[in-house]
Subunit: 168 residues, 4 copies
């Protein structure tokens, strides 16, 4: 069985409530707890690249993620990422995909933090880990139970879902 | 987008604790609540075929499920099912797959009930709904983040996971 | 059995995560869901006075709460309230307690919203509802498993707990 | 502040789901996790006396609990216990209360296990810890938000609540 890399970049999925400030903050990634609940038998390595609100990510951050995608010998890569700029990061990576040595990259995330309960995080990660094993090499977003091509997706912020941007 | 049928057969996924008896029991399927949390945008119809512990399912039950798979016009079918006899039901359906009009059937379930929290149900359903959209017509089990062929899978009850039975 | 009034004023206890904005917001009070989980057999009436972050409460709000305390015929009153200015509201009410017709007023709240799971809300409400049935008429804060007199309590914001202010 | 003893005897409160057997079982007590969520500032020592379904408790078990109540120097004692024979244990202890050196004993428990979520455990423990600090020395049951005297209580199994047995 091929090993899968999960590269954690933060986003809503990994936030938790801080009772002292009343704010949603990042501590460490909760992916290990999520994966443990999932009772999976995959070969997964989790790497924390950064824990950021995706609205605060810039091209230096995206380059850091790109470098991590390049360096890992694994060809199946799932990236957890904030939803607000997930399409921008997908495009950034897709534009460099020629250098990514036939890797399948899946970006996913959550609309409600895993640690707050009643979250879409586990569903999304289950879908992403299935997609990364079956889709041909390229860059995709997996959200809402669907697969979107990196160049043909946008977030509908009023509804909190992703849409295929077919005019692209 | 193709419509997906989810056929609920019960199993651990759909059990809940009854405070009056201290037992785990079936009420109604909790799949709508799970799907609502998942924030999906798929076209899904949920049909409750039966809510049974899979150790109590017999061939009459399996035939009922087979009939439901046959009748639905949808070619993408996810079946939620108890884990203990999931391989038996997968084999039962696979032996009749020639009649299933090129449909993709995915059986999935959970090791911990959705309503008890910290469950693998959402992860498994996310994986199953992704698999059903991308795998060729046949009968599969999706558990533990993996896809298993109907004829080549067994449950390792001592570890609570599914294994590919390669000698088959 | 005497009827108990719960007057909801909001605070952290009643906030929930809004997936569209990524903010913690008020919808409606979640006290009915909390009380339903609690499996209580008390005679309780819940009244939503306001749903506010307690840092945004002013004396007009406190007067509104005072009027509600005065009007209810119930002598046992639990007030759910944000923790940041809970001592101020307790003092405000205690200064008018002579007019409160021998009523026992208990302010309580939570450091983590009920709807985010792993919250102290149920523990605190259980303690408050017990205290209101057994303490003599006066104004108290019940937090952290303890009872504090209205005039002798402060919140230690660095630790997120209440302390008896014995110098008062 | 007086130190409070919590003596864990098991019951529904401390059960958890075992995914391998599909049964509700005891591992270790979950009271530390519950107390940590509660954000309390009491001085509490937790002692695991036994983890048993209360239907399986006999007088040897009750004597063991009685000995633990006698031995602790703390005068405030909360006992977590299965609900089915909670009145029997309360009576057993009350009949020996003369030897309990003016201690306040509160029995409490839960109708839904803490680890299954949406449980009444935190509410009940909050109420019990408040009651133990304010009630005179004697033996009580605290459930459903109410205090019951050891000799005047029964469980209504059809409704899953405790009732004052006033004819006693």
């Amino acid at each position: 069985m091929a090993q899968i890399s999960i590269l954690a970049c933060g986003g809503t999925l990994d936030k938790d409530y801080d009772p002292l400030t009343g704010e949603l903050v990042f501590g460490h990634t909760h992916l290990m707890e999520l994966l443990n609940q999932a009772n999976h038998t995959l070969h997964i390595s989790v790497q924390e690249i950064m824990l950021k609100d995706s609205l605060l990510m810039d091209d230096a951050d995206r380059d850091l993620l790109y470098q991590a995608c390049s360096k890992t010998p694994n060809q199946q890569i799932v990236i957890t990422h904030g939803t607000d700029t997930m399409p921008e990061t997908a495009t950034y990576l897709a534009n460099r995909a020629a250098n990514l040595a036939q890797k399948t990259l899946i970006l996913t995330g959550a609309m409600r933090p895993f640690k707050l309960g009643q979250s879409d995080a586990s569903f999304n990660l289950g879908a992403a880990l299935m997609a990364v094993q079956h889709l041909p090499a390229d860059v995709y977003i997996v959200m809402n139970g669907q697969v979107f091509s990196a160049h043909q997706v946008q977030k509908d912020r009023s509804r909190g879902v992703f849409l295929a941007n077919t005019e692209h």
